[in-house]
Each structure stands twice: as structure tokens, then as C-alpha cells.
């Protein structure tokens, strides 16, 4: 839906890096790293939300969500906080997926439509956009664009710190004069893009991770003394971290950033509770307080939880405990991989996808209903695909029924490129 209408926003408010404002709900959004998941949520994950991801059994697809989340944060120059009891947080950081060289998805698409400016260096003319995702703006070849044709989505780019140059060689149509020009003169060639293309076969460069040390905080719960009250201590640490000026919602003119918090395997058996009373209420209170913290600052929390450990002996979902945790969270999704199912479905049905993606609750912050554009039937019929390079969420559909997928019957089906001569050989 392309429209030139812009929502009126408070231009005094400094927008944090790599965020955008949703056109449906005026909510500040941040990318999760997975474009199809962002679409599902209506543009991105709302800042200030608490997302619960219920893990799949035996496979680790839910962990991918956490990794994408953190990777996206690092690549967009945001801050991350990783908390884990099951795994070593360093291992999580060292195994993040790498980016396909290039810039953000939206910028690349626009560049392929635009013409390069005549006043650019001659070198730039050699850099032609060939494929999506491969365009690479190097440090010594600044791509300076002075004309921006059209926005492809209803987004508002950050307006702070971008002086509008009224003097330009090209005459811009009056309608677009007031809009910010894309000025790439700041030398960082990994601009604070909203969403990047990730490649699962690559890992983030260790040098890059080293350079981001000040943005990364790791907490390993297993290192703590087991007599501590885990939830109180964790809450205090998060609260301290969020007191920094970067995340507060006041109008200081400093750059604002978003803190991404990932809790890996929340409430797994390794979060020791044996020495505290009121075991259940500890968790709700923690999540509830955390949500208040998240709402009052520029931060987001995503956590994975192995909810299947609370199923009863027949693997029926009866746990009221999990249901109460679900009510505390803003967004609840469940990953159900085909490999881990108790009664696995037939291979014919499941060959294209790796599992079902159940949406239990969608975020609706500051509104009555969530700003999604998907119909209810599509929403409850989603599945995920995890190919070699990427992970995406699509509507589940059965593969086309072909003769070969039925039982093999003798040699009656046609083999192509074979040496047997039959009438229909090529």
C-alpha cells in the first residue's frame, strides 16, 4: 500500500537507531532479524514488548529466533544483553549468523530502481546493482545520492541529525523537497539499517564481535551462587543496565539506542528454585516487573521457554503455570517442529517445511487489537522453513501430489535421461 500521506509525529522526540514507526499503530518497531516474522507482526517487534517463544522438542529451531534477534541488534549498532543458564552465553554470541554483504533490505530494493547521480565519481558508475543483497558500498567508493524517488513502505526515517540540503544541482519536485535526503557521507559502511539479510551458513566475524564488546553484556546464571534468589538478582541487574541514558525515554539530545534482552531457556530445570519459597509466583512477579521496565525504557525482551517439560505424563498440555506466564507476556508463539512430534506426520505432507509455527498471542501495546494485516485463517496456518541459508515463515500448504510420492510400483514410472529406450525418451 503506497501512499504519500505521512503520520504526524512528534519531531522533538529523538528516535533510537535502527527503529521505525509502524504505520498502523504509531508504535516504535525494531526488526527481529527475520523478515517474514516482522511482516507477521505488522512491520517489526514493538519496542517495550515481552515475547515468549515456546521451544520445540529435540530440535533447536526456537534458538534461531534468539540468534537472529541478537545478530540484528549487533549489526544495527544496538545493545544486547544475553542471559542463559542452559548454554554458555559466549557460545551463543560466537555462533551468530553472519550478514550477506550489503545493506538493509529496503535500501537495496530502492537502489535498484534509482539512477545514479551524474555528479558522482566515475568509479560509482561501475557499481551497478545486479542482484538483491549483493550490492556493496565500500569505504572508498562513497555512493552519494541526491535524489530519492519514492518510499516503498509507509515508514518515517529518522529525521534527527540530517540537515536538509536545499542547495542541490538537481531540481527536486516540490513535494519531495522537505523530505530528508539520503546522505551517506558518514563513514560507517554498516549504517543503522532496520533489517539485514542474514546467511545461516556464515557466522559473524569475530573481529566485528570484538569491536562490539561494549554493546554486549553476557550473564551466565550457572556461575552464580546457587543460594541466591535468581529472579531478584536478575531483575536488579537488568534494572541497573536500563538506567543508562541511552535507553531512557526523555528528550536528551544524545543518541538513543535500544537494549535487546534475550533470555535463553527461561525457567528450564537449570534455573534452580529448590531453595526458595513461592516458586511459582517468583516467575510471574519477575516477568511482570520486567514488563514495566521494558515499557518505560527503549528495550525489548525475548525469551525462549521449554514449555513441554510442564506437560503431563501423556504429553497433554495442562499446565496452568505456563498459561499464567503467557498472560504476562505481550507476544506468545510456539514452534512445533515435525521432527520432534510425538506422532510424526507423513513425509509427503511435510517435505517442504520443517515445522508448524503457532501464534498464540500477538502484541497489542497501547491499542485494543494488534496491527496485523493477516487474516485469521492464514494466521493459524503458518509453518516455517529452515533452508541452508535462511529461515522464513510461510503459510502452510501441501506439496503438489505427484505420482512418485505414492508407493513405488515396479518400474512403471518414466525415468528421464536413462539408457532404456522407451517411446518417450528424450
Amino acid at each position: 500500500m503506497n501512499s504519500s500521506f505521512r503520520k504526524k509525529i512528534n519531531s522533538n522526540q529523538v528516535q533510537p537507531i535502527a527503529t521505525k514507526i509502524s504505520s498502523y499503530t504509531s508504535q516504535l518497531l525494531v526488526s527481529s532479524g527475520i523478515p517474514s516474522y516482522d511482516d507477521l507482526l505488522g512491520g517489526g517487534v514493538p519496542v517495550g514488548s515481552l515475547t515468549m517463544i515456546k521451544k520445540d522438542r529435540y530440535t533447536t529451531y526456537a534458538d534461531l529466533f534468539g540468534k537472529y534477534f541478537i545478530s540484528q541488534g549487533l549489526v544495527s549498532n544496538q545493545d544486547v544483553l544475553v542471559i542463559s543458564a542452559d548454554n554458555n552465553p559466549e557460545n551463543i554470541i560466537n555462533n551468530l549468523m553472519g550478514v550477506i554483504e550489503g545493506k538493509s533490505a529496503s535500501i537495496i530494493e530502492k537502489e535498484s530502481d534509482e539512477e545514479l547521480n551524474d555528479n558522482n565519481d566515475n568509479d560509482d558508475k561501475e557499481v551497478q546493482p545486479k542482484k538483491k543483497g549483493v550490492r556493496f558500498a565500500e569505504d572508498d567508493k562513497p555512493v552519494v545520492k541526491k535524489k530519492r524517488v519514492m518510499f516503498s513502505e509507509d515508514t518515517v526515517e529518522p529525521t534527527s541529525k540530517r540537515p536538509i540540503q536545499k542547495k542541490s544541482e538537481l531540481k527536486i519536485a516540490w513535494r519531495y523537497e522537505k523530505l530528508p535526503k539520503f546522505n551517506d557521507n558518514n563513514k560507517n559502511y554498516a549504517p543503522n539499517s532496520f533489517c539485514s539479510y542474514f546467511d545461516l551458513t556464515k557466522t559473524l566475524d569475530p573481529e566485528f564481535i570484538k569491536s562490539k564488546q561494549e554493546n554486549i553484556t553476557l550473564i551466565n546464571i550457572r556461575d552464580w551462587d546457587q543460594n541466591d534468589d535468581i529472579y531478584t538478582k536478575l531483575y536488579n541487574i537488568i534494572e541497573d543496565k536500563l538506567k543508562s541514558d541511552k535507553y531512557t525515554k526523555d528528550n536528551n539530545t544524545k543518541t538513543k539506542s535500544v537494549l535487546r534482552i534475550l533470555i535463553d531457556s527461561f525457567d528450564s530445570p537449570f534455573w534452580n528454585l529448590s531453595n526458595t519459597n513461592n516458586n511459582y509466583s517468583q516467575k510471574y512477579i519477575f516477568l511482570h516487573k520486567l514488563k514495566i521496565l521494558l515499557r518505560n525504557t527503549y528495550s525489548i525482551c525475548m525469551f525462549t521457554i521449554p514449555s513441554y517439560i510442564y506437560n503431563d505424563s501423556r504429553d497433554n498440555y495442562i499446565s496452568s503455570h505456563i498459561r499464567r506466564l503467557e498472560h504476562t507476556c505481550d507476544c506468545v508463539i510456539r514452534i512445533d517442529s515435525f521432527e520432534g512430534m510425538e506422532n510424526p506426520l507423513s513425509k509427503d505432507i511435510t517435505q517442504d517445511f520443517q515445522g508448524f509455527f503457532h501464534v498464540i498471542k500477538l502484541p497489542c501495546i497501547n491499542s485494543l487489537v494488534s496491527g496485523i494485516k493477516m487474516s485469521e485463517t492464514t494466521l493459524h496456518n503458518l509453518a516455517f522453513k529452515c533452508r541452508r541459508k535462511k529461515f522464513c515463515i510461510e503459510t502452510f500448504n501441501l506439496p503438489p501430489e505427484m505420482e512418485e510420492t505414492d508407493q513405488r510400483e515396479g518400474g512403471t514410472y518414466i525415468k528421464s535421461c536413462s539408457t532404456v529406450k522407451s517411446k518417450l525418451d528424450f
Binding site: S274, Y308, I309, Y310, P344, D406
Partner: protein, 326 residues
Amino acid sequence: MNKSFLEHFIFGTNQELYKNSSHGIVLLQDTILQTCKYLLLNYINNRDYYYTILCVDTLPIYWNKSLGRAKYKCIEGNNYNTIQEILLQIKNVIKNNKKELALVKNVIIVDSVNTLLIKYSSYEVLSFIKELNEINKNEIQIILIYHQDSIINTVNNMNIKSVLSSMATTNILVEHTKKFFQNQGWSQNMDMDIIERNSINDAICSILHEKESGKMLREEMAYSMKIENNKPIISIIPIIDLMKKYIPNYQNLLNDKKPTKKVDPTENLTFNLNLTEEEKKVKNQLELPYFVGQDNNNTEGSGEIYFDPELDDEFDDDDPDADLDF
């Protein structure tokens, strides 16, 4: 040669098919009706490893009686107060083994995780198992004996069986044959006499194994055991053999399980898609324009496909045909 996982587990055959099965955690589950110890004893006797047995449920003397030539050491779990001490003791044994027999693989057997869970808290036991797994990862196999029909109450109503089976690389559930058939609905009115419990003859194993590629292998196999010269000889057989033995009318059950016939799509159409006899004749007689040229060529292609994958191409490394047997 049987290519099943159970065969591989007991005898060690087909190593190339099951690469990651030599390390990790094996959760051996049994019930009160059928013990898993027969399977385990065959495993110990067939595989030449160094075993460290943590005896909490049973006394070391029973292991001494059953294990013949195998190299093993029993650790009496009830002699220690805390689980940390047990862990330390196991680590010492493994260290000593490394010094003496560096090349022999170590296997740690925990007799009955259930008893450990009764004595210590679930968190401690799970941490213990995790730390066992971290001793020399990729070289040590840990076998946990778990009685799946006993209910364990944990602090927050956690299902310990789910947790353990998620931690384990291999899950083997040993079931009593007749009980298995009863659960499937294949035979009713099976009287479970005391004599029939813990049948030494046969049992059915359901296996869930996590392969190296991440895919799950599910298998249901049976084994049958005979005693010759005071030694147990085990053979892995498909479940059908046991069905023949115990269920007289197994043929009917097999027929029920056969897949239904293919649905004929031309059945309920309002228009006609079939050809009459004349039309078929005419169709067969029709000469297609390129046939003549084809016959003259008479060249056979090598059938090779030249494929240059592009940057955006994605394909799985794992060949789904790897475990087909022709």
C-alpha cells in the same frame, strides 16, 4: 545384515550410518513389566569398553555376578552423602582409566536415575548429568537407566521424563511384548501372570535417536534372547516375527494396516475423461511428429547433469536417501 539402530547399538555394526551414536547420553527406559537389564547386559558383553557403573538401585555384587569378562568398576552410590562426591569419584575413575587404557572408550552407567531423583533434588541430578556429559565430550557415552512408569514429583510439577529425553541423544524404551501388543489393540484379554513378567525371551524396543544432521530417527524393533552355554545370545528381529509368535491372527491385522487404494480422480466428474475402445485404438496408431527422427538418432545419453549452483541456490546437505535399503 540388519541395518537397524538397535543392531548397531548392541553389536556396533554399521558405524558409518550412525556416526554420532558413540557418545552422548542414552536414556534407557523400562517399566516394571519388562526390565532393560537384559538388553544392557548384552550391550556390555558385546562391546569392549570400560564401564563405570554407579550403583544406587542395586548392589555391586549383582553386577559382579552378571558381567563376565567385561572391564568395569562399580561405584557404590549410597556410600556418599552428596552428589558432588559421586561426581568426583566418577571423574577419578575415568581419569585413572585414561592413564591405563587410553584408547578404550569409557561408558558410564547410572543405575536408576529415579533413585537419584528421590535422594537429591531434580536440579542437582540434572546438573550432575550435564556435568557428566561434559567430562571429555565426544568420547564418553552415558547410559541412564530410568523407570518410566514411576511418577516423580518435582518442585514445580516438571515432567522429568520430558526433560531427560530432551537431554538425551538416544532414547530407548523397552517394553514387554504382550503389553505392547495390548497397547496397540492387537490382542485383548492378555493375562499378565507373574511368570510372564520380565520375560527373558523377548521384548520390543522403541527408539528415538537424534542423528548428526539433526533429524530424528524413529524405530521399533524387537529382540529375542536365548541362553546357550550359560551365555545369552541376542538377535534383533522385526516386530512381525514376534507377532507371528504371539498373535494367531496377525495376518488380519497386517491387512488392516495396508494403505488404502489410490483414489481414482475420474470417479465423480460431470464430464467424461475416459477414452472408449475406438478412441484408444486411434490414439495408439497416431504417429507423433518427432518420433521418426528420434529412432534414427540412436544415441544414448550419458545422463549426466551439469549443475552450477548459483549464489542464491539453497539445497540441503543431508541426502534423504541415505538410509534407504535396496
